[in-house]
Symmetry: C2
Subunit: 252 residues, 2 copies
Protein backbone atom coordinates (compact mmCIF):
# COMPACT_ATOMS: atom_id res chain seq x y z
CA UNK A 1 0.00 0.00 0.00
CA UNK A 2 2.45 2.68 0.96
CA UNK A 3 4.24 5.29 2.99
CA UNK A 4 2.16 8.27 4.06
CA UNK A 5 3.69 11.49 5.49
CA UNK A 6 1.59 13.89 7.60
CA UNK A 7 3.00 17.36 7.03
CA UNK A 8 2.28 21.05 7.59
CA UNK A 9 4.72 23.75 8.67
CA UNK A 10 1.85 25.48 10.51
CA UNK A 11 1.94 24.50 14.15
CA UNK A 12 -0.96 22.91 15.96
CA UNK A 13 -3.14 21.99 12.97
CA UNK A 14 -3.58 18.34 14.01
CA UNK A 15 -0.61 16.48 12.47
CA UNK A 16 0.05 14.24 15.46
CA UNK A 17 -3.65 13.75 16.21
CA UNK A 18 -4.19 12.67 12.59
CA UNK A 19 -1.09 10.44 12.47
CA UNK A 20 -1.96 8.55 15.67
CA UNK A 21 -5.67 8.12 15.03
CA UNK A 22 -5.49 7.39 11.30
CA UNK A 23 -2.88 4.73 12.12
CA UNK A 24 -5.20 3.27 14.76
CA UNK A 25 -8.21 3.35 12.41
CA UNK A 26 -6.27 1.61 9.62
CA UNK A 27 -5.02 -1.00 12.12
CA UNK A 28 -8.65 -1.66 13.14
CA UNK A 29 -9.32 -2.75 9.51
CA UNK A 30 -6.67 -5.44 10.11
CA UNK A 31 -4.00 -3.66 8.07
CA UNK A 32 -0.52 -3.87 9.56
CA UNK A 33 0.57 -0.31 10.44
CA UNK A 34 3.86 1.29 11.48
CA UNK A 35 3.72 4.84 12.88
CA UNK A 36 7.11 6.60 12.60
CA UNK A 37 7.60 9.70 14.76
CA UNK A 38 9.92 12.14 12.99
CA UNK A 39 9.17 15.08 15.32
CA UNK A 40 11.70 15.69 18.14
CA UNK A 41 8.72 16.67 20.33
CA UNK A 42 8.02 12.90 20.41
CA UNK A 43 4.26 13.34 20.72
CA UNK A 44 3.29 10.09 18.98
CA UNK A 45 4.76 8.17 21.91
CA UNK A 46 3.20 10.56 24.41
CA UNK A 47 -0.23 10.19 22.80
CA UNK A 48 0.08 6.38 22.97
CA UNK A 49 1.36 6.08 26.52
CA UNK A 50 4.97 5.38 25.52
CA UNK A 51 7.21 7.49 27.78
CA UNK A 52 9.92 9.04 25.68
CA UNK A 53 12.15 9.67 28.68
CA UNK A 54 12.48 5.91 29.24
CA UNK A 55 13.49 5.10 25.67
CA UNK A 56 16.85 3.43 25.36
CA UNK A 57 16.89 3.97 21.62
CA UNK A 58 14.72 6.11 19.35
CA UNK A 59 14.45 7.50 15.83
CA UNK A 60 17.51 9.70 16.49
CA UNK A 61 19.66 6.56 16.75
CA UNK A 62 18.09 5.09 13.61
CA UNK A 63 18.62 8.23 11.55
CA UNK A 64 22.22 8.48 12.80
CA UNK A 65 22.75 4.84 11.76
CA UNK A 66 23.62 3.70 15.29
CA UNK A 67 20.89 1.07 15.32
CA UNK A 68 18.46 -0.67 12.99
CA UNK A 69 14.85 0.49 12.80
CA UNK A 70 13.51 -2.91 13.91
CA UNK A 71 15.30 -2.55 17.25
CA UNK A 72 13.13 0.43 18.26
CA UNK A 73 9.77 -0.73 16.91
CA UNK A 74 7.24 -1.55 19.64
CA UNK A 75 3.73 -2.89 19.46
CA UNK A 76 1.09 -0.43 20.78
CA UNK A 77 -2.08 -2.29 19.72
CA UNK A 78 -3.36 -5.04 17.42
CA UNK A 79 -1.60 -4.64 14.03
CA UNK A 80 -0.29 -1.22 15.24
CA UNK A 81 3.42 -0.56 15.80
CA UNK A 82 5.37 2.59 16.75
CA UNK A 83 8.93 3.83 16.10
CA UNK A 84 9.20 6.55 18.77
CA UNK A 85 11.19 9.80 18.82
CA UNK A 86 12.63 12.08 21.48
CA UNK A 87 14.43 15.41 21.66
CA UNK A 88 17.75 13.98 20.40
CA UNK A 89 16.25 13.89 16.92
CA UNK A 90 16.51 17.69 16.92
CA UNK A 91 20.25 17.36 16.24
CA UNK A 92 19.77 15.42 12.98
CA UNK A 93 19.56 18.47 10.72
CA UNK A 94 22.83 19.85 12.07
CA UNK A 95 24.60 16.46 11.97
CA UNK A 96 23.69 15.80 8.34
CA UNK A 97 23.75 19.36 7.01
CA UNK A 98 26.68 18.94 4.63
CA UNK A 99 26.27 15.31 3.71
CA UNK A 100 25.21 13.89 0.39
CA UNK A 101 21.92 11.99 0.35
CA UNK A 102 20.91 13.80 3.55
CA UNK A 103 17.35 14.03 2.21
CA UNK A 104 16.94 10.31 1.64
CA UNK A 105 18.20 8.94 4.96
CA UNK A 106 14.71 7.99 6.12
CA UNK A 107 13.84 6.40 2.78
CA UNK A 108 16.92 4.20 3.04
CA UNK A 109 15.87 3.05 6.54
CA UNK A 110 12.22 2.42 5.60
CA UNK A 111 12.62 0.69 2.23
CA UNK A 112 13.55 -2.73 3.75
CA UNK A 113 10.30 -2.67 5.78
CA UNK A 114 7.83 -1.83 3.01
CA UNK A 115 6.79 -5.47 2.57
CA UNK A 116 6.27 -5.96 6.31
CA UNK A 117 3.62 -3.23 6.73
CA UNK A 118 0.53 -2.27 4.76
CA UNK A 119 1.05 1.37 5.71
CA UNK A 120 3.89 3.34 7.24
CA UNK A 121 2.67 6.71 8.58
CA UNK A 122 5.16 9.47 9.41
CA UNK A 123 4.44 12.35 11.82
CA UNK A 124 6.46 15.52 11.18
CA UNK A 125 7.53 18.65 13.12
CA UNK A 126 5.96 22.08 12.42
CA UNK A 127 8.56 23.21 9.88
CA UNK A 128 9.92 22.34 6.42
CA UNK A 129 13.39 21.45 7.62
CA UNK A 130 15.48 18.39 6.78
CA UNK A 131 13.36 15.97 8.85
CA UNK A 132 10.16 16.90 6.99
CA UNK A 133 12.00 16.75 3.65
CA UNK A 134 13.16 13.24 4.56
CA UNK A 135 9.53 12.29 5.21
CA UNK A 136 8.43 13.72 1.85
CA UNK A 137 11.18 11.87 -0.06
CA UNK A 138 10.33 8.59 1.68
CA UNK A 139 6.58 8.96 1.14
CA UNK A 140 4.31 7.90 -1.71
CA UNK A 141 1.49 10.13 -0.45
CA UNK A 142 1.10 13.07 1.91
CA UNK A 143 -1.74 14.30 4.06
CA UNK A 144 -1.79 18.00 5.00
CA UNK A 145 -4.03 18.57 8.05
CA UNK A 146 -5.55 22.02 7.93
CA UNK A 147 -7.37 24.04 10.55
CA UNK A 148 -9.96 26.44 9.12
CA UNK A 149 -8.23 29.65 10.19
CA UNK A 150 -6.36 32.55 8.65
CA UNK A 151 -2.95 31.40 9.83
CA UNK A 152 -3.44 27.79 8.79
CA UNK A 153 -4.90 28.56 5.35
CA UNK A 154 -2.11 31.04 4.65
CA UNK A 155 0.66 28.46 4.39
CA UNK A 156 -1.13 25.93 2.16
CA UNK A 157 -0.37 27.48 -1.22
CA UNK A 158 3.28 27.96 -0.28
CA UNK A 159 3.50 24.39 1.04
CA UNK A 160 2.21 23.06 -2.26
CA UNK A 161 4.77 25.11 -4.21
CA UNK A 162 7.56 23.79 -1.99
CA UNK A 163 6.36 20.19 -2.42
CA UNK A 164 6.28 20.62 -6.20
CA UNK A 165 9.75 22.19 -6.23
CA UNK A 166 11.29 19.52 -4.00
CA UNK A 167 9.71 16.61 -5.89
CA UNK A 168 11.38 17.80 -9.11
CA UNK A 169 14.68 18.65 -7.41
CA UNK A 170 14.93 15.49 -5.30
CA UNK A 171 13.17 13.26 -7.83
CA UNK A 172 10.39 11.81 -5.72
CA UNK A 173 6.72 11.26 -6.58
CA UNK A 174 4.23 11.84 -3.81
CA UNK A 175 0.63 12.89 -4.22
CA UNK A 176 -0.85 15.06 -1.50
CA UNK A 177 -4.34 15.70 -0.14
CA UNK A 178 -5.71 18.33 2.26
CA UNK A 179 -7.58 17.19 5.37
CA UNK A 180 -9.79 19.69 7.20
CA UNK A 181 -9.44 19.18 10.97
CA UNK A 182 -11.07 20.79 14.03
CA UNK A 183 -14.18 21.38 11.87
CA UNK A 184 -16.91 22.99 13.98
CA UNK A 185 -19.42 22.70 11.06
CA UNK A 186 -20.30 26.42 11.41
CA UNK A 187 -21.40 28.67 8.53
CA UNK A 188 -17.90 30.20 8.48
CA UNK A 189 -16.27 26.75 8.28
CA UNK A 190 -18.57 25.71 5.41
CA UNK A 191 -17.70 28.92 3.57
CA UNK A 192 -13.95 28.35 4.06
CA UNK A 193 -14.26 24.75 2.84
CA UNK A 194 -16.06 25.93 -0.30
CA UNK A 195 -13.22 28.40 -0.86
CA UNK A 196 -10.63 25.63 -0.43
CA UNK A 197 -12.43 23.50 -3.04
CA UNK A 198 -12.19 26.43 -5.46
CA UNK A 199 -8.54 27.27 -4.69
CA UNK A 200 -7.30 23.66 -4.65
CA UNK A 201 -9.58 21.60 -6.94
CA UNK A 202 -9.51 17.84 -6.35
CA UNK A 203 -7.06 18.17 -3.47
CA UNK A 204 -9.48 18.15 -0.55
CA UNK A 205 -10.30 14.80 1.06
CA UNK A 206 -14.07 14.23 1.43
CA UNK A 207 -13.63 13.29 5.11
CA UNK A 208 -13.16 16.02 7.68
CA UNK A 209 -12.30 15.61 11.34
CA UNK A 210 -14.84 17.38 13.52
CA UNK A 211 -13.75 19.37 16.56
CA UNK A 212 -14.20 16.82 19.29
CA UNK A 213 -13.06 16.85 22.90
CA UNK A 214 -12.56 13.05 22.94
CA UNK A 215 -9.43 13.58 20.81
CA UNK A 216 -7.90 15.76 23.53
CA UNK A 217 -9.08 13.50 26.33
CA UNK A 218 -7.66 10.42 24.59
CA UNK A 219 -4.22 12.04 24.27
CA UNK A 220 -4.30 12.94 27.98
CA UNK A 221 -4.92 9.27 28.74
CA UNK A 222 -2.11 8.13 26.43
CA UNK A 223 -4.56 6.27 24.21
CA UNK A 224 -5.66 6.58 20.60
CA UNK A 225 -9.28 7.66 20.25
CA UNK A 226 -10.59 4.24 19.09
CA UNK A 227 -9.38 2.72 22.37
CA UNK A 228 -10.51 5.69 24.48
CA UNK A 229 -14.03 6.19 23.08
CA UNK A 230 -14.82 4.06 20.01
CA UNK A 231 -18.24 5.67 19.36
CA UNK A 232 -17.06 9.30 19.59
CA UNK A 233 -17.01 11.64 16.60
CA UNK A 234 -13.22 11.56 16.86
CA UNK A 235 -13.17 7.78 16.39
CA UNK A 236 -15.81 7.70 13.65
CA UNK A 237 -14.21 10.53 11.66
CA UNK A 238 -10.81 8.83 11.67
CA UNK A 239 -12.42 5.57 10.58
CA UNK A 240 -14.11 7.36 7.69
CA UNK A 241 -10.73 8.90 6.86
CA UNK A 242 -9.10 5.46 6.95
CA UNK A 243 -11.60 4.11 4.39
CA UNK A 244 -11.02 7.08 2.13
CA UNK A 245 -7.25 6.61 2.39
CA UNK A 246 -7.64 2.91 1.53
CA UNK A 247 -9.59 3.87 -1.62
CA UNK A 248 -7.11 6.61 -2.54
CA UNK A 249 -4.04 4.41 -2.05
CA UNK A 250 -5.35 1.21 -3.64
CA UNK A 251 -5.49 2.91 -7.03
CA UNK A 252 -2.33 5.02 -6.82
CA UNK B 1 9.45 48.95 30.29
CA UNK B 2 10.94 46.23 28.21
CA UNK B 3 11.31 43.58 25.56
CA UNK B 4 8.89 40.67 25.79
CA UNK B 5 9.34 37.41 23.79
CA UNK B 6 6.38 35.09 23.15
CA UNK B 7 7.79 31.56 22.88
CA UNK B 8 6.80 27.90 22.83
CA UNK B 9 8.21 25.16 20.63
CA UNK B 10 4.77 23.52 20.63
CA UNK B 11 2.91 24.51 17.53
CA UNK B 12 -0.46 26.20 17.51
CA UNK B 13 -0.68 27.15 21.19
CA UNK B 14 -1.51 30.81 20.50
CA UNK B 15 1.87 32.58 20.23
CA UNK B 16 0.88 34.83 17.33
CA UNK B 17 -2.63 35.42 18.65
CA UNK B 18 -1.13 36.49 22.01
CA UNK B 19 1.62 38.64 20.45
CA UNK B 20 -0.78 40.58 18.19
CA UNK B 21 -3.57 41.10 20.70
CA UNK B 22 -1.40 41.79 23.75
CA UNK B 23 0.44 44.40 21.66
CA UNK B 24 -2.90 45.93 20.64
CA UNK B 25 -4.19 45.91 24.23
CA UNK B 26 -1.01 47.57 25.55
CA UNK B 27 -1.23 50.17 22.76
CA UNK B 28 -4.81 50.93 23.83
CA UNK B 29 -3.42 52.01 27.24
CA UNK B 30 -1.43 54.64 25.30
CA UNK B 31 1.86 52.78 25.59
CA UNK B 32 4.01 52.91 22.47
CA UNK B 33 4.37 49.33 21.19
CA UNK B 34 6.56 47.65 18.57
CA UNK B 35 5.61 44.12 17.49
CA UNK B 36 8.57 42.27 15.93
CA UNK B 37 7.75 39.18 13.87
CA UNK B 38 10.58 36.66 14.14
CA UNK B 39 8.64 33.76 12.58
CA UNK B 40 9.26 33.11 8.85
CA UNK B 41 5.54 32.23 8.59
CA UNK B 42 5.01 36.00 8.89
CA UNK B 43 1.66 35.67 10.63
CA UNK B 44 1.85 38.93 12.60
CA UNK B 45 1.58 40.81 9.33
CA UNK B 46 -1.14 38.49 8.06
CA UNK B 47 -3.17 38.96 11.24
CA UNK B 48 -2.90 42.76 10.92
CA UNK B 49 -3.70 43.04 7.23
CA UNK B 50 -0.11 43.66 6.13
CA UNK B 51 0.51 41.49 3.04
CA UNK B 52 3.88 39.84 3.37
CA UNK B 53 4.15 39.19 -0.36
CA UNK B 54 4.23 42.95 -1.03
CA UNK B 55 7.00 43.70 1.46
CA UNK B 56 10.04 45.29 -0.09
CA UNK B 57 12.08 44.72 3.06
CA UNK B 58 11.40 42.63 6.15
CA UNK B 59 13.02 41.22 9.28
CA UNK B 60 15.19 38.94 7.11
CA UNK B 61 16.96 42.03 5.71
CA UNK B 62 17.35 43.51 9.20
CA UNK B 63 18.81 40.33 10.68
CA UNK B 64 21.18 40.01 7.71
CA UNK B 65 22.28 43.64 8.27
CA UNK B 66 21.15 44.78 4.81
CA UNK B 67 18.90 47.47 6.22
CA UNK B 68 18.13 49.26 9.48
CA UNK B 69 15.17 48.18 11.58
CA UNK B 70 13.52 51.62 11.34
CA UNK B 71 13.24 51.25 7.55
CA UNK B 72 10.80 48.32 7.88
CA UNK B 73 8.70 49.57 10.81
CA UNK B 74 5.13 50.47 9.83
CA UNK B 75 2.29 51.89 11.84
CA UNK B 76 -0.70 49.51 12.18
CA UNK B 77 -2.77 51.44 14.74
CA UNK B 78 -2.56 54.21 17.36
CA UNK B 79 0.73 53.75 19.27
CA UNK B 80 1.10 50.30 17.59
CA UNK B 81 3.94 49.55 15.14
CA UNK B 82 4.97 46.36 13.32
CA UNK B 83 8.30 45.01 11.99
CA UNK B 84 7.02 42.32 9.59
CA UNK B 85 8.61 39.03 8.52
CA UNK B 86 8.35 36.73 5.51
CA UNK B 87 9.69 33.35 4.41
CA UNK B 88 13.21 34.69 3.69
CA UNK B 89 13.78 34.79 7.45
CA UNK B 90 13.92 30.99 7.33
CA UNK B 91 17.45 31.21 5.90
CA UNK B 92 18.84 33.13 8.90
CA UNK B 93 19.79 30.07 10.94
CA UNK B 94 21.79 28.62 8.06
CA UNK B 95 23.43 31.97 7.18
CA UNK B 96 24.63 32.62 10.73
CA UNK B 97 25.29 29.05 11.84
CA UNK B 98 29.06 29.38 12.30
CA UNK B 99 29.30 33.01 13.26
CA UNK B 100 30.21 34.43 16.62
CA UNK B 101 27.50 36.41 18.40
CA UNK B 102 24.88 34.65 16.25
CA UNK B 103 22.59 34.49 19.30
CA UNK B 104 22.64 38.22 19.95
CA UNK B 105 21.96 39.57 16.48
CA UNK B 106 18.41 40.64 17.35
CA UNK B 107 19.51 42.23 20.64
CA UNK B 108 22.03 44.36 18.74
CA UNK B 109 19.31 45.55 16.34
CA UNK B 110 16.76 46.28 19.08
CA UNK B 111 18.93 47.96 21.72
CA UNK B 112 18.97 51.36 19.90
CA UNK B 113 15.16 51.41 19.92
CA UNK B 114 14.52 50.61 23.59
CA UNK B 115 13.96 54.27 24.50
CA UNK B 116 11.54 54.81 21.61
CA UNK B 117 9.01 52.15 22.68
CA UNK B 118 7.42 51.26 26.00
CA UNK B 119 7.27 47.61 24.95
CA UNK B 120 8.80 45.58 22.16
CA UNK B 121 6.96 42.24 21.70
CA UNK B 122 8.56 39.43 19.69
CA UNK B 123 6.57 36.59 18.05
CA UNK B 124 8.55 33.36 17.55
CA UNK B 125 8.35 30.22 15.35
CA UNK B 126 7.30 26.82 16.80
CA UNK B 127 10.83 25.60 17.57
CA UNK B 128 13.83 26.41 19.76
CA UNK B 129 16.15 27.23 16.90
CA UNK B 130 18.46 30.23 16.47
CA UNK B 131 15.61 32.71 15.83
CA UNK B 132 13.88 31.85 19.11
CA UNK B 133 17.21 31.92 20.95
CA UNK B 134 17.81 35.41 19.54
CA UNK B 135 14.42 36.47 20.91
CA UNK B 136 15.25 35.04 24.35
CA UNK B 137 18.64 36.79 24.50
CA UNK B 138 17.07 40.12 23.46
CA UNK B 139 14.18 39.84 25.91
CA UNK B 140 13.80 40.94 29.52
CA UNK B 141 10.70 38.79 29.97
CA UNK B 142 9.04 35.86 28.20
CA UNK B 143 5.45 34.73 27.92
CA UNK B 144 4.81 31.04 27.18
CA UNK B 145 1.28 30.55 25.79
CA UNK B 146 -0.04 27.14 26.73
CA UNK B 147 -3.03 25.20 25.50
CA UNK B 148 -4.51 22.84 28.12
CA UNK B 149 -3.69 19.60 26.32
CA UNK B 150 -1.37 16.64 26.65
CA UNK B 151 0.92 17.70 23.82
CA UNK B 152 1.15 21.32 24.92
CA UNK B 153 1.73 20.57 28.62
CA UNK B 154 4.41 18.02 27.75
CA UNK B 155 6.94 20.52 26.46
CA UNK B 156 6.69 23.08 29.29
CA UNK B 157 9.11 21.49 31.75
CA UNK B 158 11.66 20.93 29.00
CA UNK B 159 11.24 24.49 27.74
CA UNK B 160 11.94 25.84 31.22
CA UNK B 161 15.09 23.70 31.52
CA UNK B 162 16.30 24.97 28.15
CA UNK B 163 15.61 28.59 29.11
CA UNK B 164 17.55 28.14 32.37
CA UNK B 165 20.46 26.48 30.55
CA UNK B 166 20.63 29.14 27.83
CA UNK B 167 20.38 32.06 30.22
CA UNK B 168 23.49 30.81 32.07
CA UNK B 169 25.34 29.88 28.89
CA UNK B 170 24.51 33.06 26.94
CA UNK B 171 24.43 35.32 30.00
CA UNK B 172 20.99 36.87 29.71
CA UNK B 173 18.37 37.49 32.38
CA UNK B 174 14.76 36.98 31.39
CA UNK B 175 11.90 36.02 33.66
CA UNK B 176 9.15 33.91 32.15
CA UNK B 177 5.46 33.38 32.88
CA UNK B 178 2.97 30.80 31.60
CA UNK B 179 -0.26 32.00 29.95
CA UNK B 180 -3.16 29.59 29.59
CA UNK B 181 -4.88 30.10 26.23
CA UNK B 182 -7.92 28.56 24.53
CA UNK B 183 -9.40 28.03 28.01
CA UNK B 184 -12.88 26.49 27.70
CA UNK B 185 -13.45 26.83 31.48
CA UNK B 186 -14.47 23.15 31.70
CA UNK B 187 -13.92 20.92 34.74
CA UNK B 188 -10.97 19.28 32.94
CA UNK B 189 -9.40 22.69 32.22
CA UNK B 190 -9.78 23.78 35.83
CA UNK B 191 -8.14 20.53 36.97
CA UNK B 192 -5.22 21.01 34.55
CA UNK B 193 -4.74 24.61 35.70
CA UNK B 194 -4.61 23.46 39.34
CA UNK B 195 -1.98 20.90 38.31
CA UNK B 196 0.06 23.61 36.54
CA UNK B 197 -0.02 25.77 39.69
CA UNK B 198 1.41 22.81 41.64
CA UNK B 199 4.04 21.89 39.04
CA UNK B 200 5.17 25.46 38.32
CA UNK B 201 4.51 27.55 41.45
CA UNK B 202 4.35 31.33 40.90
CA UNK B 203 4.89 30.93 37.17
CA UNK B 204 1.28 31.04 35.97
CA UNK B 205 -0.19 34.44 35.03
CA UNK B 206 -3.56 35.10 36.72
CA UNK B 207 -5.13 36.06 33.38
CA UNK B 208 -6.17 33.34 30.98
CA UNK B 209 -7.39 33.75 27.41
CA UNK B 210 -10.76 32.06 26.94
CA UNK B 211 -11.51 30.06 23.80
CA UNK B 212 -13.27 32.65 21.71
CA UNK B 213 -14.26 32.61 18.05
CA UNK B 214 -13.73 36.39 17.73
CA UNK B 215 -9.97 35.78 17.86
CA UNK B 216 -10.19 33.57 14.77
CA UNK B 217 -12.62 35.89 13.02
CA UNK B 218 -10.42 38.92 13.70
CA UNK B 219 -7.37 37.20 12.15
CA UNK B 220 -9.45 36.34 9.05
CA UNK B 221 -10.27 40.04 8.73
CA UNK B 222 -6.64 41.08 9.17
CA UNK B 223 -7.48 42.97 12.34
CA UNK B 224 -6.49 42.68 15.98
CA UNK B 225 -9.38 41.69 18.20
CA UNK B 226 -9.79 45.12 19.87
CA UNK B 227 -10.48 46.63 16.45
CA UNK B 228 -12.64 43.72 15.29
CA UNK B 229 -14.87 43.29 18.35
CA UNK B 230 -13.86 45.43 21.35
CA UNK B 231 -16.43 43.89 23.74
CA UNK B 232 -15.65 40.24 22.94
CA UNK B 233 -14.07 37.88 25.46
CA UNK B 234 -11.01 37.86 23.22
CA UNK B 235 -10.63 41.64 23.56
CA UNK B 236 -11.38 41.77 27.27
CA UNK B 237 -9.04 38.86 28.12
CA UNK B 238 -6.14 40.50 26.28
CA UNK B 239 -6.82 43.80 28.04
CA UNK B 240 -6.75 42.03 31.41
CA UNK B 241 -3.49 40.38 30.32
CA UNK B 242 -2.08 43.79 29.35
CA UNK B 243 -2.80 45.17 32.82
CA UNK B 244 -1.17 42.17 34.45
CA UNK B 245 1.90 42.55 32.22
CA UNK B 246 2.13 46.26 33.12
CA UNK B 247 2.12 45.33 36.83
CA UNK B 248 4.64 42.52 36.32
CA UNK B 249 7.03 44.64 34.25
CA UNK B 250 6.87 47.84 36.27
CA UNK B 251 8.50 46.11 39.21
CA UNK B 252 10.97 43.93 37.36
N1 LIG C 1 -10.45 17.47 15.74
C1 LIG C 1 -9.98 17.95 16.90
N2 LIG C 1 -10.84 18.32 17.86
C2 LIG C 1 -10.39 18.85 19.02
N3 LIG C 1 -9.10 19.02 19.34
C3 LIG C 1 -8.19 18.66 18.42
C4 LIG C 1 -8.56 18.11 17.16
N4 LIG C 1 -7.41 17.85 16.47
C5 LIG C 1 -6.38 18.22 17.25
N5 LIG C 1 -6.86 18.70 18.43
C6 LIG C 1 -6.07 19.29 19.52
O1 LIG C 1 -5.43 20.43 19.01
C7 LIG C 1 -4.09 20.51 19.52
C8 LIG C 1 -3.13 20.49 18.35
O2 LIG C 1 -3.13 19.23 17.74
P1 LIG C 1 -1.75 18.44 17.42
O3 LIG C 1 -0.82 18.60 18.56
O4 LIG C 1 -2.12 17.09 16.97
O5 LIG C 1 -1.24 19.32 16.21
P2 LIG C 1 0.19 19.24 15.50
O6 LIG C 1 0.01 19.80 14.16
O7 LIG C 1 0.72 17.87 15.64
O8 LIG C 1 1.07 20.24 16.42
P3 LIG C 1 2.66 20.51 16.23
O9 LIG C 1 2.73 21.49 15.11
O10 LIG C 1 3.13 21.08 17.55
O11 LIG C 1 3.29 19.18 15.92
C9 LIG C 1 -3.92 19.33 20.46
O12 LIG C 1 -4.21 19.77 21.76
C10 LIG C 1 -4.99 18.35 20.01
O13 LIG C 1 -5.44 17.55 21.06
N1 LIG D 1 -8.21 31.87 22.71
C1 LIG D 1 -8.45 31.38 21.49
N2 LIG D 1 -9.71 31.05 21.15
C2 LIG D 1 -9.98 30.53 19.93
N3 LIG D 1 -9.05 30.31 18.97
C3 LIG D 1 -7.79 30.63 19.26
C4 LIG D 1 -7.40 31.19 20.51
N4 LIG D 1 -6.05 31.42 20.48
C5 LIG D 1 -5.63 31.02 19.27
N5 LIG D 1 -6.66 30.56 18.53
C6 LIG D 1 -6.61 29.97 17.20
O1 LIG D 1 -5.81 28.80 17.29
C7 LIG D 1 -4.95 28.69 16.15
C8 LIG D 1 -3.51 28.67 16.63
O2 LIG D 1 -3.15 29.94 17.14
P1 LIG D 1 -1.81 30.69 16.66
O3 LIG D 1 -1.62 30.53 15.21
O4 LIG D 1 -1.82 32.04 17.24
O5 LIG D 1 -0.73 29.79 17.42
P2 LIG D 1 0.84 29.84 17.24
O6 LIG D 1 1.40 29.27 18.49
O7 LIG D 1 1.26 31.18 16.86
O8 LIG D 1 1.07 28.81 16.01
P3 LIG D 1 2.51 28.50 15.33
O9 LIG D 1 3.15 27.51 16.25
O10 LIG D 1 2.19 27.93 13.97
O11 LIG D 1 3.23 29.81 15.25
C9 LIG D 1 -5.29 29.89 15.27
O12 LIG D 1 -6.23 29.46 14.33
C10 LIG D 1 -5.92 30.88 16.20
O13 LIG D 1 -6.84 31.69 15.55
MG1 LIG E 1 2.62 17.28 16.36
MG1 LIG F 1 2.49 31.75 15.21
Amino acid sequence: MGILAVINQKGGCGKTTTAINLAAALASTRKRILLVDLDPQGHCGLGLGVHKDHLEYSMADVMDKRIELKKIIRKVDQHFYLAPANIYLAGFEHRFSGQSERESQLKQRLDPYIKEYDFIIIDCPPNLGLLTINAMVASQAMIVPLELSAFSLDGVARLQHIVDFLSKHLEFKSEHRLLVTMDDRSRLSKKLIRQLEVDFPNKLLRSTIRKNVSLKEAALQGQHVLAYDPVSFGARDHQALAHEVLDWQSYP
